[in-house]
């Protein structure tokens, strides 16, 4: 049994009568102790996905649609009783947020806020609890934890605040730590330290880590597995190194475009034009098509499916590896002979992601 199994997760918001499908049919599996990176531009649904796991959408205008399933060690969390959910939040599943300043309550000391988390999940009296707080603060590398515990958030630097947030998350000895852009609000040097810390804690406590970032670089430093999210859908997932070496989906290539991971110089190195649309206005067909440099007429009409495929190519391929890429394709054969032969064929050659449909075989 996997630690976390998400099947067909659909999370929506209702704003002014319109439905925003922020997460739209996501499948994701995480094993114990595994570090998975979730990447995608801002607005692609990463935070909503994370909040869905914790059942925290219901406090906004959002909800998880029926038919979705999130299983934690086999236990269904969608529709779970609030009491049980509370045990899981901060217990088996803990979360660290992007803005360490605004994510800590300004009117309570850091120590008190960590203590609350400790007490919520462990039967400890005040004394033991406080000793545990100091231990946790030390664990995350806060110097002089006895003094710092009495500080208010505004008296700490951004890096220290984020360490305090991580200490709070560790309080319930989580099996899964979700870190939503934990370093995006921090200076570059501090970013590296926090990432190191997360990596260390993950292996030390054999904790699964879902590291969310818009920055592929951040994820690639920590995670063995990478999931690329666009417009509420997973467009590609697989071993991080493989994706970095040979991204299959045009969106992934776009994400990597501005970075220097690509050994293959022939690939286009430029950022993706435009922005992620709002979740209440996803484009028809492939949601990436208005921005995709490889789009063709099919893309605006049909929504390609995610297909699993073996890794028969690309550097670093290992036996037994499998990659899942999306979109498409099962529908290509239905398009008709004109699209497959003649002009259609030559068009199709440039449209890379439609070619991974399997039945057309490997790209030539």
């Amino acid at each position: 049994m996997s630690l976390l199994e998400i099947r067909n997760l659909r999370s929506v918001f209702r704003t002014r009568g319109e439905e925003a499908r922020a997460v739209d049919g996501v499948d994701l599996t995480m094993e114990r102790g595994e570090a998975v990176g979730l990447v995608g531009e801002s607005g692609s649904g990463k935070t909503v996905l994370a909040l869905s796991i914790l059942g925290l959408l219901s406090h906004g205008s959002g909800r998880i649609l029926p038919g979705s399933s999130i299983r934690l060690r086999g236990e269904e969390m969608v529709g779970m009783k609030e009491r049980r959910l509370r045990q899981i939040r901060g217990g088996a599943v803990a979360m660290v947020f992007q803005e360490p300043m605004t994510s800590l309550n300004p009117v309570f000391t850091v120590g008190d806020q960590v203590l609350e988390a400790v007490k919520a999940h462990r039967a400890m009296d005040g004394r033991e609890g406080w000793a545990e707080v100091i231990r946790l603060l030390r664990e995350v590398g806060i110097p002089e934890p006895e003094q710092r515990a009495g500080a208010y958030p505004h008296q700490l630097s951004g890096g220290m605040r984020q360490r305090a947030m991580i200490a709070m998350a560790l309080a319930g000895s989580p099996a899964l730590l979700i870190a939503d852009e934990p370093t995006s609000a921090l200076d570059v040097t501090v970013q590296a330290q926090i990432l190191e810390l997360l990596k260390r804690l993950q292996s030390r406590f054999h904790m699964a880590l879902l590291l969310i970032s818009h920055d592929v670089g951040v994820v690639s430093r920590v995670c063995q597995t990478m999931v690329v999210l666009y417009a509420g859908k997973v467009v590609e997932k697989g071993p991080t190194q493989d994706i970095l070496r040979s991204p299959r989906h045009p969106y992934t290539r776009g994400l990597l475009g501005s970075r220097l991971f690509l050994k293959d110089r022939r690939r286009v190195l430029r950022p993706i034009p435009g922005e992620v649309p709002e979740a209440n206005a996803w484009p028809e067909g492939c949601r990436f098509h208005p921005r995709c440099s490889e789009a063709w007429h099919l893309c605006g009409r049909e929504e390609p499916r995610l297909v699993a495929m073996g890794l028969g190519r690309g550097a670093g391929a290992r036996e037994g590896d499998s990659r899942v890429v999306g979109p498409p394709g099962g529908s290509l054969s239905e398009v008709g002979p004109t699209d497959r032969g003649g002009e259609g064929r030559s068009r199709a050659r440039s449209v890379r992601c439609w070619l991974f449909s399997g039945d057309l075989g490997e790209e030539t």
Binding site: L56, P106, V107, Y152, M168
Partner: protein
């Protein structure tokens, strides 16, 4: 905290002096000659002048002001023209009554206002929220003397039964006739019963505004990231709301305390009048009608002083509830 408090207190001193000065100037410019109180038929102009000299009214204004301020600082507000007793005694006699009324009302109003405001925020857009909002607005916009009269009509004059309970509350005064004949427990009961209507009226006037303010402040706070953090660490919802959110939502509400002081004071004036409550408000109204110059001056200064003190109190409380201000480094 001490430095912060000292700074706030020092800032209040010139304000109080300013209030004293304005009070003096306004009353010096006001029509009506205080000496005319002593005017009798057939009195000669010389006698009147003599009276004015005795009262110090012949001196140039700035001299009058200097003298007045000096004696003011020594707690000497002069003598009441109407009754001849020292103003200080007159005020000390009624001030506790006003403070009692105000303290009870403000306590009830804040407790009720905070509770209702939080409930409204938690159930934003629910029928409960709308009904409470409407009720708040109703009491908030109603003139306090009219509300006072209504309260008397409902709970005293027309009273008989309310929801099957016999209810009749004393509509005026602080104690019943024959109070002296009552035993100790009956005296306490009598005083409490007399307090109910005026205190309730004043509470109703204040609660709506507070509830509204708390509601909006809560709505602002409840969307903050740290509320999400509180939920994410598995705290029960009541702790998220009543501890994490409310502590933050109360920060701006504290300033409201300062804003509400004038409202409270003007409210007491009308309410004391309607309920014949022997407090500062009544004393002021009576003294104005009698042109009892020294009492009006001292009373106005006290009212102004209370507003300044209310703001000072709000500032100090602000430092208590917001650690970022307390340390003076945020």
């Amino acid at each position: 905290m001490l430095v912060y408090a000292a700074r706030r207190v020092l800032a209040a001193v010139p304000l109080l002096l300013g209030v004293a000065t304005i009070v003096f100037v306004v009353l010096a410019l006001a029509p009506g000659d205080p000496a005319s109180m002593y005017l009798r038929p057939g009195m000669s102009p010389e006698t009147l002048d003599q009276i004015r000299r005795n009262m110090g009214l012949d001196a140039p204004l700035h001299v009058q002001y200097g003298r007045w301020l000096l004696s003011f600082l020594q707690g000497d507000f002069g003598q009441s023209l109407a009754s001849g007793i020292p103003v200080k005694d007159r005020i000390l006699e009624v001030l506790p009554n006003t403070l009692l009324l105000a303290a009870v009302a403000i306590l009830l109003a804040f407790v009720a206002g905070i509770f209702l405001g939080v409930m409204q925020a938690v159930r934003q857009h629910s029928p409960l929220d709308s009904v409470l909002s409407g009720t708040s607005l109703f009491f908030y916009s109603m003139p306090s003397f009219w509300l006072a009269i209504m309260m008397v009509l409902v709970f005293s004059v027309n009273a008989g039964t309310v929801w099957g309970w016999p209810v009749s509350l004393p509509p005026s005064g602080m104690v019943s006739d024959g109070y002296d004949l009552l035993g100790p427990m009956a005296r306490v009961r009598d005083r409490l019963l007399h307090l109910v209507l005026p205190a309730l009226t004043l509470t109703l006037v204040l609660t709506g505004g507070i509830a509204r303010y708390v509601r909006n402040s809560m709505l602002e706070v409840i969307r903050q990231d740290y509320i999400r953090t509180a939920r994410a660490k598995g705290l029960p919802e009541w702790q998220v709301v009543w501890k994490h959110a409310l502590r933050n939502a109360l920060i701006p509400v504290v300033t409201l305390l300062g804003v509400y002081f004038p409202l409270l004071l003007s409210g007491t004036v009308f309410i004391e009048y309607v309920f014949a409550w022997p407090g500062m408000g009544r004393l002021m109204v009576d003294s104005i009608l009698l042109e009892d110059y020294p009492v009006v001056l001292a009373g106005t200064f006290l009212f102004g002083g209370m507003v300044v003190l209310g703001n000072l109190l709000a500032d100090l409380l602000y430092g208590v509830v917001d650690p970022r201000i307390r340390r003076g480094d945020g």
